[in-house]
């Protein structure tokens, strides 16, 4: 080997040469293409096309299906007639009918959780310049939540040695049952309601308030100081935010003159000047303030960022559910998403006219489709908050509630009185 070959071969360090491959732009993804307008990128255009396709496909399906509510009653009378022919007692038919309705109602929060968790993961991923789940399921990780659910089902259920075993077992049950039962008076569309209660509004708030007990039980029974702190925090927070949340709905009730949820939604039909829908959110000042207070208090009630103090991950590990695993943890998780859905359904019913279309000529779509669309948009807002804001501190949270939110909601009630006096 001559002097020259040695020089050319070894003058440059070997790793320096081998890593020159990284200089090729396609070997590794550098996000410098973010300089360009996203619309110049084919992936964005394709994504927008796919989204438009899904939306129009969903709209077409809803149009083909039509109103579901009015078809239910004839179905029941058909079953009754058949039972009379066969000599089956009518109370049996009524019982089976109620059970079927209950099963359908139970499916609502469960299916919602399956969908919403996947949606949350995809949306957060795209907000954070990543892809999220991509492998399980046929399309963009669509079945990831199912896989996670199966995993939670077959996981070992660990109960800590120093836990209060019975209360530890009871806590997730106490949390999940009100979360499901609270869906009973929700009008999912025209005549599409499980129990058309005249005190529907009071019922929903009363029942969903019970879940606080379960969270306190979970925090207390786990025998863990972080859990206990989480339980204490949630007791304070949920009870406090229950007040402005309820008070913010009172103007709506005053304007509507009823507590029946489907009646409240139905009263918002029609348009001002043939264009602006008569939704309660469009009532000057009162409607917007009531909606803002209700939205903020709902985010706090569902323990989501910026109000996720009971389960503040960086402070309290996982808060009240630190010591829960497997299916018990899944029940807490499920109840969180059930409450998100419930809050969004209530907001859609109280402030966005339930199943009323936003513009007169859009009435060809059935009411349940509009209700669903409004609810999903509001759920998106919840997800958006979560991945944008930092977390409040616990004392600031209380100050914000008692010194700002509660007075505002009380003033709003007075303002609603003035508005009604002006309108009459």
């Amino acid at each position: 080997m001559t002097e020259e070959t040695i020089k050319t071969k070894f003058s440059e360090p070997i790793f320096n040469r081998s890593h020159g491959r990284l200089l090729m732009p396609e070997t590794r993804y550098w996000p410098t293409r973010m300089w360009k307008s996203p619309w110049r990128l084919p992936t964005y255009r394709r994504g927008a096309a796919v989204m438009a396709g899904i939306l129009s496909g969903g709209a077409a399906a809803a149009w083909l299906l039509g109103e579901a509510g009015p078809r239910v009653a004839p179905l029941y009378s058909l079953a009754e007639r058949y039972a009379l022919q066969q000599g089956v007692p009518l109370f049996l038919v009524a019982t089976v009918w109620t059970l079927i309705k209950a099963a359908v109602l139970l499916a609502v929060p469960l299916v919602n959780a399956l969908f919403a968790v996947w949606w949350e993961r995809k949306i957060s991923a795209h907000m954070q310049s990543r892809m999220g789940p991509m492998y399980v399921g046929w399309w963009h990780g669509a079945l990831q939540t199912v896989a996670d659910g199966i995993k939670l089902f077959i996981k070992e259920d660990i109960v800590p040695e120093c836990a209060d075993k019975f209360v530890h077992l009871l806590a997730p049950v106490v949390v999940i049952i009100p979360a499901i039962v609270a869906f009973a008076p929700i009008p999912f569309g025209r005549e599409l309601v499980y129990a058309d209660l005249d005190i529907g509004t009071v019922y929903v708030f009363a029942v969903s308030g019970v879940s606080v007990m379960g969270i306190i039980m979970a925090g207390w029974s786990s025998g863990n100081k972080f859990s206990l702190l989480g339980g204490l925090r949630s007791a304070a927070q949920l009870v406090s935010y229950e007040l402005p949340r309820t008070f913010s709905v009172i103007p709506v009730i005053m304007l509507a003159g009823t507590l029946n949820l489907s009646a409240i939604a139905g009263l918002q039909a029609g348009y001002w000047g043939g264009l602006l829908p008569r939704w309660f959110i469009f009532y000057p000042v009162v409607g917007q303030v009531a909606f803002a207070v209700f939205l903020i208090a709902s985010v706090a009630e569902t323990n989501r960022i910026p109000f996720d103090i009971p389960e503040a991950e960086s402070e309290l590990v996982a808060g009240f559910n630190t010591e829960y695993s497997g299916m018990k943890f899944a029940l807490f998780f499920l109840s969180e998403f059930a409450y998100v859905l419930l809050s969004c359904l209530l907001m859609a019913a109280f402030f966005f006219g339930g199943g009323q279309p936003p513009l007169p000529f859009l009435g060809f779509l059935p009411s349940w489709a509009w209700f669903l669309a409004k609810t999903l948009t509001l759920i998106f807002c919840f997800l958006w908050f979560r991945w944008t804001f930092p977390r409040f501190r616990v004392d600031r949270l209380m100050n914000f509630n008692w010194k700002f939110l509660l007075p505002v909601s009380l003033l709003n009630i007075a303002a609603a009185g003035v508005l009604i006096w002006l309108l009459s």
Binding site: G20, W30, W35, M127, K225, I305, S314, E315, F392
Partner: protein, 378 residues
């Protein structure tokens, strides 16, 4: 009256082990907290869970082998550790590295500072409950790590700065890639400000928490951005310029109140300054006076035996004033090597400023100090 109510409402004190296994201690730090409700009565930081005896290990290796140990101190920003060690050994042995190597050292130090502060930005956001900044920060950090991988093959532990110079010159195309990164990175700093720095919730949580006056910071021996946030503008790069920092123009951002937010924002401003320094270094390295290839001092022996004596060298590392004190007895291995780790000194003040805070403030204060346990415990 209020006092009476508080006495009547006095609750039991509770002892909480905050760590060593906790999501927000950034490693294996344990803080023994005594709390009354949410308020902290007493906080005792307990270090040593990651102790590996690195200072003793130095004594069993020769000078070039010992270099790899320095990477393991502050593993989030390893380049300055190499640099401080090499400066101490060079001072001990009387070696003068070539100018090009010095520019390269400054360049990689500043890139490391950006990468390290990005980790701080992300993890501090996570501590405050904002997860999205974390992924934005790591997207940019990934680009710096790619640059380092092209330069020396390592992505976390580099051993790039060697006694007498650096291990490799810039590969072909690296300068363009680095400029591309800086052009991409500068507008991102504005994004970070809109996303996190000036978020009202974030400011509310950090501006009134963990206040340290300038005198107190100095008396506790704080350094780096933690000190400068309190007011004193002490920066080793300005006070005792090493490498080529006297030839580079940059400012040292300082804070006013020494709150968590000031400590945070000092680092954000420092990233912008580091980006400027990187550009200046790239310009200088392109000049013909610094021909490529002159990266090692002539005549550095394979087995270094510095004359008996002692030398101290300190630099402005990402987390503060990092110093190496080397004692030689003219043998191939150092007789004693002491490390002045900035994180270790920064963690000491916690016991004083955590008292009276809320539990939620512990993560804010701890996160704002940006400690790395590899350097605290050594």
């Amino acid at each position: 009256m209020t006092r009476e109510i508080f006495t009547a409402l006095k609750t039991d004190q509770m002892f909480i082990n905050f760590g060593p296994q906790h999501p927000s201690t950034h490693g294996v730090l344990r803080i023994a907290l005594t709390v009354e409700g949410e308020v902290i009565i007493k906080a005792v930081p307990d270090v040593g869970f990651l102790h590996r005896g690195i200072e003793k290990l130095f004594e069993a290796r020769n000078y070039s082998q010992a270099l790899i140990l320095t990477d393991r101190l502050d593993y989030v920003s390893a380049m300055p550790n190499n640099l401080a060690y090499c400066l101490a050994v060079e001072r001990l042995a009387g070696i003068q590295p070539p100018l090009r190597a010095q520019y390269l050292r400054a360049l990689v130090s500043e890139l490391t500072r950006i990468a390290s502060h990005l980790v701080f930005f992300g993890t501090f956001g996570v501590d405050m409950g904002a997860f999205t900044p974390f992924l934005y920060a790591f997207r940019e950090r990934e680009m710096v790590l790619d640059l380092f991988e092209m330069l020396c093959g390592g992505r976390l532990l580099y051993s790039y700065v060697r006694v007498g110079g650096v291990s490799a010159d810039l590969p072909a195309g690296w300068t363009e890639k680095c400029r591309e990164f800086i052009t991409f990175f500068k507008p991102r700093l504005k994004d970070y400000d809109t996303l996190l720095s000036f978020n009202p919730i974030f400011r509310d949580r950090t501006e009134t928490v963990g206040l340290i006056s300038g005198a107190r910071a100095l008396s506790w021996g704080l350094s780096g951005p933690n000190l400068r946030a309190s007011g004193p503008g002490y920066d080793v790069r300005k006070a005792e310029p090493y490498c080529v920092y006297d030839k580079l123009s940059f400012t040292v951002p300082t804070g006013k109140t020494g709150s968590c937010w000031d400590r945070y924002y000092c680092r954000m401003l420092e990233m912008g300054q580091s980006a400027e320094i990187v550009l200046q270094c790239l310009d200088a390295l392109a000049k013909p006076e610094l021909p490529p290839g002159e990266i090692m001092a002539k005549g550095v022996p394979k087995m270094l035996r510095p004359p008996a004596g002692a030398a101290y060298a300190h630099i402005e590392a990402s987390r503060g004033d990092l110093g190496f004190y080397a004692v030689s007895d003219a043998s191939p291995a150092p007789y004693r090597m002491h490390v002045r780790g900035p994180s270790f000194l920064n963690v000491a003040i916690l016991q004083e400023i955590l008292t009276g805070c809320k539990i939620a403030d512990v993560v804010a204060v701890l996160g704002s100090f940006d400690i790395v346990l590899g350097e605290v415990d050594r």
